[in-house]
Symmetry: C2
Subunit: 507 residues, 2 copies
């Protein structure tokens, strides 16, 4: 068999034992916090029906969904195969081989006599789809040859899960999910085509306690991972709606927040200039000046906002919501996080309806390491109306990079095997094996070198695998029923009787 | 948006919190044993290059691989698109739309003048591929519109991993991997299109210690899971080769083992009758009678085998290998497993070259719950020759079913949250929240009901979520700084001062 240098698809990664140890450390920490707050784990299949995913992420998202080719003879000769759509958007299907033969006749200017309305449509639109042969043809063919796709995020499969299992679920349903997702994005540094998402959501409760708990979860998980300076930014979609309402500029909220975000760099005059360029009027700016100049404590910001939004019911509701969350938190001091009301936070503006979260580390220059928010109609897309949801996500890959840069992983993280018994021959290894099993029964990860060979090689194996202790049992040791324990980092060496080995502290 | 009742693709499954708790219990147990024996975890991407997977599992396997449609405009107009192969197996490619237009001309009996040898080929083979339009066309198209596929098992991706990372790996490399695989098999009871594999392999060591350790790993992991009566069957490909050599019937080994396997049911005469029907001669049968009549202890079986195979060097080598493994095990008594030399075990005959393993429970009627063996040339398919491998796999789904049937899961397995604080109103919940955070800081999974509502509803939530303790804090309790702890299973109720809550033992 000709062999090609093997590789993985671009944008995907292998994880080595050392990387797995670090990734498990991150995931296990986050999961343990989720569990402590009453969240329960679920898993959904990697493949979803294409119809479950399409149309949920916008046109751009649809393109980035990995589709799975139907198995077997997916182009069934003269069965439903080739779709074409007429300009009014109707879809029609015709056998692929029929399509080919009709095309031939049409090219020959032959008349096609058929009572089949589909064939008539095909003839009618032949020129059109021939003209749109390229991309159009791909798109049309896809729905015929693919009915499954890889999940694009964990939220849509979760919504599907909730609707499918609604009768078995105890609401409010607090679930977490840690699984890979796939996106046909252009790969680049820090952006992969396969990556894990790490989500917790509550569905079926509009209580702001949930929002407060997510702040505590971020604080606790990231503190446990060793981060020492990070900010949880909090905003509320209703505040943004209020601002828009006050100046009647619903569509320009993003322009507004982008400009305000620059105040530290370009000053008030700069912000005003930018806003005027973007079509805001002097009167608008006057009305929202307190919003632009927002600063100080969260409480001070809230006071200014209430003044500025006094005429907007929804804006004031947003202020109330933020205040409620802040009050909950005030009652339970945060370990590490700074909690900051940031009205420039507009992430996911299209679907969030209440709270918006984002987490940033202040120790490393890096995008957000977490985010989330409340969406009032999570399951409506699958026909179950009126269920509100709120959720957060941890950006595991970025957290990994931050922890690497700050050297936050425990030094011992890639110690798997604690003890390596050296192999000095058939007889010696029998004795060694006996002791090895005793250590394992005590729960100690331990190995024996697989064959008798030079010490050098066995030391090298221990060193490369980061094994901290070697135990050496030769004929002399068998006679005296002792073994030599060698600390491979310290270089220290001790003789320990066989019967005392299990009590030895390998630290 | 029109909404359809949502579903998952056939052969795939959602896992609920209760199922996840049980699955995690199985995987965590097996992983902890792998780690204790010095195995290190890796992960590989769900998607592999199609070329990495194709041709590794036979023609049937190739068909069962889920292919992923190239993203974007995969049918590029007049770029490399349509493949066709000539009868001698050469592959050619031609632009899809060109293919259509040449077809038109050919149907019109027009002459096609082209110097392009591909076009000449197309003309030459037009009739052929038109005739083979259906399945053939699908197959040909696939290589053009798909270049990635979902992994079909963990062994081929592992071999690819070893070759790609050979310079970073410490050999012998003991790795484990627990990830889903996908197969486009017809789904049926107990057979899924997405399922987890749970594999451990050593690559780069021909020491039989590895085989012995796999027996110990099976024994320890399954004992830990609570199985009380199971058999690890052991065979060796070299013994089977020896039998074939002795009677010169290399191709009939499977017929032979299938017949011998029936001896308990149909007796010696029955087995002989079947062997004669299958083309074995009286002389053959005379030579291998000791093999057919094999019984007694493993040692007794080995003695008979040595007699029967005394003229086959490879057969005797197989006996030596089995004996070495048995000797290692003899040195470390098994906890639960029966270890049985079973020469009818021929699983994966095509690729195993040494040891063959299979595990069966004797408590439930169920296929094998584990299996594996040695394959001498794991990485040869990717160009790295001479690396031997040996590995085992746990059948997690079947182990799950066995444990369900035998009720082996711990009763408390789906207890997540230990304590639910009842919510009696804004003021009360503030106090409750303060205490709740103290319990969480102690590591206790606990929650507060998300809103003040009727006790009934809060009790029901606790009951459905299997939460064993409720804590009730009303205005009276705030006054006296005590809380009421209610055991929801026992019905017992106790008053505990706030400051003593953290010391309370929630068991």
């Amino acid at each position: 068999m000709a062999s090609v240098k093997p590789s993985v698809p671009k944008g995907t990664r292998d994880f080595s034992p050392a990387e797995m140890a670090k990734r498990n450390y991150i995931f296990d920490t986050i999961k343990s916090v989720f569990r402590k707050y009453g969240y329960q784990q679920i898993e959904t299949p990697a493949m979803e029906n294409l119809s479950t995913l399409m149309g949920k992420y916008g046109d751009e998202g649809d393109k980035l969904i990995f589709k799975i080719l139907n198995s077997g003879d997916y182009l069934k000769l003269n069965q439903t195969v080739f779709s074409f759509s007429s300009r009014n958007g109707e879809n029609h299907k015709i056998g692929f081989w029929d399509a080919l033969s009709y095309s031939v006749k049409l090219e020959q200017n032959q008349t096609i006599n058929s009572d089949d309305p589909i064939v008539e449509k095909f003839v009618e639109y032949y020129g059109y789809f021939k003209e749109h042969g390229g991309p159009e043809f791909s798109k049309l063919l896809t729905s015929d040859i693919s009915e499954k796709a890889l999940r694009y995020d964990l939220t849509v499969p979760f919504a599907r899960y909730v609707v499918m299992h609604q009768n078995d679920i105890t609401f409010p349903f607090k679930r977490f999910q840690v699984q890979p997702v796939w996106r046909a994005d252009r790969p680049q540094r820090g952006r992969y085509r396969e990556f894990y998402q790490c989500d917790a959501d509550v569905v079926g409760s509009d209580s702001l306690l949930n929002e407060a708990e997510f702040v505590l979860i971020y604080d606790e998980a990231l503190s446990k991972l060793g981060l020492k300076d990070f900010t949880i930014k909090l905003n509320n979609r209703k505040i943004l709606s209020g601002i828009a309402e006050v100046i009647d500029k619903n569509d320009n909220i993003v322009d507004l927040t982008v400009a305000i975000d620059k105040i530290d760099k370009i000053g008030l005059d700069g912000v005003i200039r930018e806003l005027l360029e973007k079509g805001f009027t002097e009167a608008d700016i006057e009305k929202i000046k307190p919003v632009i100049l927002l600063q100080g404590s969260n409480e001070a910001k809230l006071r200014s906002l209430r003044d500025a939004l006094s005429k907007s019911a929804i804006g004031l509701m947003g202020c109330d919501e933020v205040e409620t969350v802040l009050n909950y938190i005030g009652n339970c001091p945060l370990k590490t996080a700074h909690l900051e009301l940031d009205i420039t936070l507009a992430r996911g503006l299209n679907y969030y309806t209440g709270a918006i979260f984002e987490v940033k580390t202040n120790e490393v220059n890096m995008g957000s390491i977490g985010g989330g928010g409340r969406y009032d109609d999570l399951t409506g897309m699958f026909g179950l109306k009126g269920l509100t949801g709120v959720g957060i996500s941890f950006g595991a890959d970025r957290i990994y990079d931050v922890m690497e840069e700050l050297k936050l992983f425990p030094e011992t993280i890639d110690i798997g095997t604690k003890v390596l018994f050296f192999n000095l021959g058939a007889e010696e290894s029998k004795t060694a094996y006996h002791l090895l099993q005793q250590l394992r029964q005590k729960g100690l990860a331990s190995e024996i070198y697989h064959e008798p060979t030079k010490f050098d090689k066995q030391f090298k194996y221990a060193e490369k695998k980061n094994i901290p202790f070697a135990i050496i049992i030769g004929s002399k040791e068998i006679e005296t029923k002792t073994c030599v324990i060698k600390g491979l980092r310290s270089g220290e060496q001790r003789s320990v009787p066989f019967e005392a080995l299990c009590e030895f502290s390998f630290i």
